[in-house]
């Protein structure tokens, strides 16, 4: 390890950091533009072309706003908390490969800041640390609303942490490694010769699990209950103002970018893509970088699309979804993945085929049985349903007329 190595490492870190920061700034702007478009508005268009400098202007404004620190606040924690979420988002990004590999002299440079063997664990650890920002922020404000808001938000994030962990665990079991570079490596190549062999294929359920959990984890709509301005007086940020307030929400956007990058890396092959024989050159690395960007931007767009479409969840539904749906399903999926992997590794070809045949036979049998039940099922239900059918009921006017006739009264004019 000599000076050149250090320099190269430094450059890679700078590139990653710069990409991540500009990405965040553009995401904030893009979200406002895209959501505006979805609501037939225009969105920011005052500062710079298409309002692209709006984020900068907002940042400047927030930094010069009056900044109030409550008397009762625990000063140190109060100041540290907003930075936490931003810092951990950045640390997560450190293990993401954001470009390809190329050779400088006899060195191989990978566009990835750090590639530890515990890559996926690192992602999980960092995303769980972001809970601290919120819990501490709520606690350090020295006021009850933020405290309650903080506890509530932590509960949400922890619930989804589990689902997220299970999603990643399934991938971990499937690829047999925690190292991010190897996970990306495992996704190169194709299925059936034309489909890219990304984890999204075999691990589609883990992907859904992970992505929904990531949305909840970053406190993005429809799971943006922590900030719930209307019903909670902004929850854990009640006592935050100016730049510190901005930091919290900057953190949210940074996490959104990071989570998109993680999703792309784990499920969509990261910077993989056709390189047209440019492997190992700088151009090839840039091309890979371009693939990575495109995929990440697509996911950021999905985040924004969710926000533009879905209304906010209520808290009980949020909790139900996390604990009663995602947790059991996630566990099942992990077990299933493990079973498949073990079967692949231990059984011989013909045994495997036999096993698949048995599973298929059982499935078909189940299907037939369920069809039989369905055939028989609806009939008694139909008889029950008949009287409650509104159209079958005599109309109010008819009932009145009949009643009148029964009483022997002269015919009454009933206006319907």
């Amino acid at each position: 390890m000599d000076l050149t190595d250090v320099l190269i490492a430094l450059l890679v870190v700078l590139a990653g950091f710069g990409l991540w920061l500009t990405g965040t700034a553009l995401t904030i702007w893009g979200e406002r533009r895209v959501v505006a478009k979805m609501q037939t508005r225009i969105g920011p268009n005052r500062v710079g072309p298409l309002g692209i400098l709006q984020t900068l202007a907002d940042g400047i404004k927030l930094f010069f706003k009056e900044d109030i620190t409550p008397e009762a606040a625990d000063k140190f924690t109060y100041y540290v908390a907003p930075m936490l979420s931003a810092v951990v988002a950045m640390l997560t990004f450190a293990v993401i490969p954001f470009g390809g590999t190329f050779e400088v002299g006899d060195r191989e440079v990978t566009m990835q800041i750090w590639d530890p063997e515990i890559g996926l664990l690192w992602v999980l650890a960092m995303s769980s640390l972001s809970v601290y920002g919120i819990a501490l922020g709520g606690w350090a404000s020295g006021s009850k609303y933020p405290l309650l808001g903080g506890v509530r938000s932590s509960a949400q994030m922890i619930s989804y942490e589990l689902a997220m962990g299970l999603g990643l665990a399934a991938v971990f079991i499937w690829t047999g490694t925690l190292q991010v570079s190897e996970i990306v490596e495992a996704q190169s190549g194709t299925f059936f010769g034309f489909l890219p062999a990304w984890n999204i294929g075999p691990q589609i359920f883990a992907f859904v699990l992970f992505f929904v959990a990531a949305v909840a984890e970053t406190q993005r709509p429809p799971f943006d209950l922590p900030e719930a301005e209307g019903e909670l007086v902004a929850g854990f940020v009640t006592e935050y103002s100016g730049a510190k307030f901005a930091m919290f929400f900057l953190g949210e956007f940074m996490q959104m970018v990071t989570m998109s990058a993680v999703t792309v890396t784990v499920f969509f092959g990261g910077p993989n893509g056709p390189l047209f024989g440019l492997e190992g050159t700088l151009l090839g690395a840039l091309l890979a970088h371009f693939y990575f960007l495109i995929k990440t931007v697509a996911f950021v767009f999905v985040f924004i699309w969710l926000r533009g479409t879905l209304p906010r969840f209520t808290y009980n539904r949020l909790m139900d979804l996390g604990w009663k749906v995602f947790l059991p399903l996630g566990l099942l999926w992990v077990m299933l993945t493990a079973a498949i992997v073990v079967a692949q590794e231990t059984l011989a070809q013909d045994e495997l085929l036999f096993g698949i045949g048995v599973v298929l036979a059982v499935l078909i049998a189940l299907l037939l049985v369920s069809m039989l039940f369905e055939r028989r099922g609806p009939e008694p239900e139909d008889e029950d349903a008949e009287p409650t059918d509104q159209s079958a009921l005599p109309s109010a006017a008819e009932t009145a007329r009949e009643a009148a006739e029964r009483r022997g009264a002269k015919q009454i004019e009933v206006d319907v």
Partner: protein, 225 residues
């Protein structure tokens, strides 16, 4: 469930390609409806005399108590309005006004009408109390600012009010010579009309255009959009 999701996400996706409905307000101004209630204006006759006769009916009609009028007598040497009195002090407090238009309904001379100007804001409260000089319409072309003398006014041979509106719609030609001068002053083109037609025109004028006409600057600012 999937159908619902498809519908919801499809809707937002589709909407992205629709043109925005936003009006970029300070840059682009929309034309308001003809009867929009903007800030008031105190109109003048074409020769420059004020229409306001200081009757205070507008102030009485105002539910928000936003108008303050004090009338004073016209003298033969100093005439501000036709008739006995004129509005010597006239103020409207736009912090109270709710733009209901009851005052303009109450005004017997159609002195008080409303413009299309809606950009009313100020840094100080006092600036939102508009005084008579702010509310008065600009002088018509070629007119002399009041006070006029009675002699001047008599020489014009105009019956200001009751004006054309109070004429019998079936009045004969001979009958209406008196208003001819008045008519000529308003618009020579109206001379060609019969009396009945003229009365219609005059009524519409009063309702639609008369109060917009005198304010060259105001209507400029509206159309500047």
């Amino acid at each position: 469930m999937f159908n619902a999701l498809r519908k919801g996400f499809g809707l937002t996706a589709k909407t992205m390609f629709r043109p925005a409905v936003t009006t970029e307000y300070p840059d682009v101004k929309r034309q308001v409806q003809p009867r929009f209630h903007g800030r008031h204006v105190l109109n003048r006759y074409p020769d420059g005399l004020e229409k306001c006769i200081g009757c205070e009916l507008c102030a009485w009609a105002c539910p928000a108590d936003a108008i303050w009028v004090e009338g004073a007598d016209n003298t033969p040497g100093a005439r501000y309005s036709p008739g006995e009195r004129y509005g010597a002090i006239y103020q409207i407090n736009y912090l109270r006004c709710i733009f209901c238009g009851l005052c303009i309904e109450a005004c017997p001379t159609r002195s008080l009408t409303m413009t299309h100007e809606y950009e009313l804001s100020a840094d100080r409260r006092e600036d939102l109390i508009f005084t008579k000089d702010q509310l008065l319409a600009p002088l018509p072309e070629g007119a002399k600012p009041p006070p006029h003398t009675d002699e001047e006014v008599r020489a014009r041979g105009i019956t200001y009010y009751p004006g054309a509106q109070s004429q019998d719609p079936l009045a004969t030609k001979e009958h209406s010579e008196e208003t001819a001068a008045h008519r000529a002053m308003l618009d020579p083109a109206l001379m060609q009309l019969s009396d009945v037609e003229y009365n219609h025109v005059e009524r519409d004028r009063n309702i639609w255009t008369e109060y917009e006409e005198p304010q060259g600057e105001l209507s400029d600012s509206e159309e500047g959009s």
